[in-house]
Symmetry: C2
Subunit: 380 residues, 2 copies
Amino acid sequence: MKRAKAFLVLFGSLIFLAGCGNLQSSGLGSGSGTKSKSSVQTTGQVSDSDYQGVVRNGKYLTSKSRGLSEDQNTNGYNLKSFESGLLTVSKKQFPTNKYVFQEGQYLNKTTVTNWLARKSKDNPDGLNPASNGQTDANKRNPIYLQQLEEQDYMTQSGSKLSLGGVTIGLGMNQIDYYTKKQYGPTYQTKISNAQMVAEAKKMANEVVKRMRAKSGMSKVPITIALYEQAPNDSLVGGTFFANGTSKNGSKTISSWNSMNQKNYTLPAVSGAKSGNSSDSDAFDNFKTQIQSFFPNLSGVTAQTHYNNGTLAGMNVSINTQFYSQTEIMSFTQFIATEAEHYLPSNVPIQVTISSSEGIQSFVARDSGQKSFYTHVFGSY
Amino acid sequence: MKRAKAFLVLFGSLIFLAGCGNLQSSGLGSGSGTKSKSSVQTTGQVSDSDYQGVVRNGKYLTSKSRGLSEDQNTNGYNLKSFESGLLTVSKKQFPTNKYVFQEGQYLNKTTVTNWLARKSKDNPDGLNPASNGQTDANKRNPIYLQQLEEQDYMTQSGSKLSLGGVTIGLGMNQIDYYTKKQYGPTYQTKISNAQMVAEAKKMANEVVKRMRAKSGMSKVPITIALYEQAPNDSLVGGTFFANGTSKNGSKTISSWNSMNQKNYTLPAVSGAKSGNSSDSDAFDNFKTQIQSFFPNLSGVTAQTHYNNGTLAGMNVSINTQFYSQTEIMSFTQFIATEAEHYLPSNVPIQVTISSSEGIQSFVARDSGQKSFYTHVFGSY
């Protein structure tokens, strides 16, 4: 559970205006209040486990490549899981109590677009292989790298924020979707796991080398996290398979930490993998209990996330039709009761309860909590 | 803040099957688990301030007039505020620690439909006046009563649930919308406050008289709550203006408690009433801080609810466009920080943060809490 803390830092000035006169003493002050021109604040921290973000002149400092990841992902689940997972990887290297999160400021949209494209005479920076002229699924050079995202981690010294490190995520295709002509049918080139991993690590080293050449980037730790995109028809996002950090100005990642993550959907479709069977059974029992709560059947599905073979989280989606606000309230209480009884303990669980008009209520238990928080969206 | 408690009661049997063999001792057991045929359980209670609801054979005991209130309300805000408010009124008469909530079982859909219609030769039970044949807005008899809802409050004795009282809400029109012919244009008959109140109290007594004639209803307390429907174009629901309770089998409400409730929307539109100006200013300051957080402007509106001239709650809706999951996370933290700083203290506050794809996160502080709970809807 996350609670807002009055633990906010107002930076009277910042990196670009260091030495400006009207500095506030750091570590105090509020995220809001009167702000001088060109001031930096942070978003405030509502939980020790979340980063504060950088706000400048009352505006969020958006990514220099804003919107690109959205364009690159046909499957929206990939976008959410890629970015959330990148934060999780970063927290080990850049702890939330020492670093402030900043959207990537070193790679702009043009740069990232060029890097994601094929290498060519016009685009020498392309990280994906040059076209070999083939269009056959098994003969062409596929697009290995689908998305790339930079996240900056800032340290605070007095009233200044300065770059403390960078994390870059590389989203790799297991399937490259392509067309032979514009608006033509979509074909697929499958990429073997071995080849995907090899290409990812090679590209990671190239990325580190290029980052080292940028101003201010010669010494800071650079973490690269490698992500396998889920197929376009997947109902869960992809997963991270490795990360490594270049330290002390090294231009390569010398050792990789492998990451064993899996995402599944429940209920298990016959023949499909669904993770640990006891977790899947727990979900099935929960589903059975609640599905027939109303005369009209409720739709109940879940996403599960595994880390090293152990359940690390479950998101349950329930869709049903409600005829009154009291039905929503009663159903929500019932869900909280049944979730506590049936769903796996000791992992974060999120249950959203929706009608055709959108989310009506939700029930959640965060990591480390024993009981569920419930909220019914109200209206006056 | 609401937390699930393992405070559930499993009734092995119930009113309709009292005396059945497989009773569980009351006050223990769980809301779930194996259930015998025809068993009654409750939804479980996640907060002392909420009622448990009645579940029979694993199914929610839905209202006998289910769906009717939905049909009667062109403005969905009226439905939500009417039903939520009815619960609030009931809590004074039927405390949540002594009573279990049951959707109305004594008035079925046909009965309520007839009561809501005009009195006529074919429908002698109509509570609305007979037509006088006029179609002119100021000459016709308007429809005073727009919706009627029954809520039952059950007491538990051992393993039995029995009726402990009933609350009936009457939703009264301040404007009656009508057409002169099918599919024709809509006209309005305005109803004065004095007349609305007089009609409501007269109908309330008629309703009490009719309820007393029903089996099992001769002695239980019957609370009637009178609600003024908001106009169809309102962005907030209506409010309750009086309630009264018939006790000891009385066939009338002998005294009425007047209720002074107001709902407003913010930001205040020039010329429109907006409640207490300091609350409205607080909202305006909050809005100013967050509206320009992103380069694209966020839409920020609120509903406020007043009881006896004092702010009793605020629901804020924020709509903006996000380009990444990290933007959603940062914005949510910022909202929690600014809400704590700017929004009125000591009242329940709900802030929903939505994009074109629906709710992305929310921030809420329940009654009696000091800090905000935040949740970003995640996906694996």
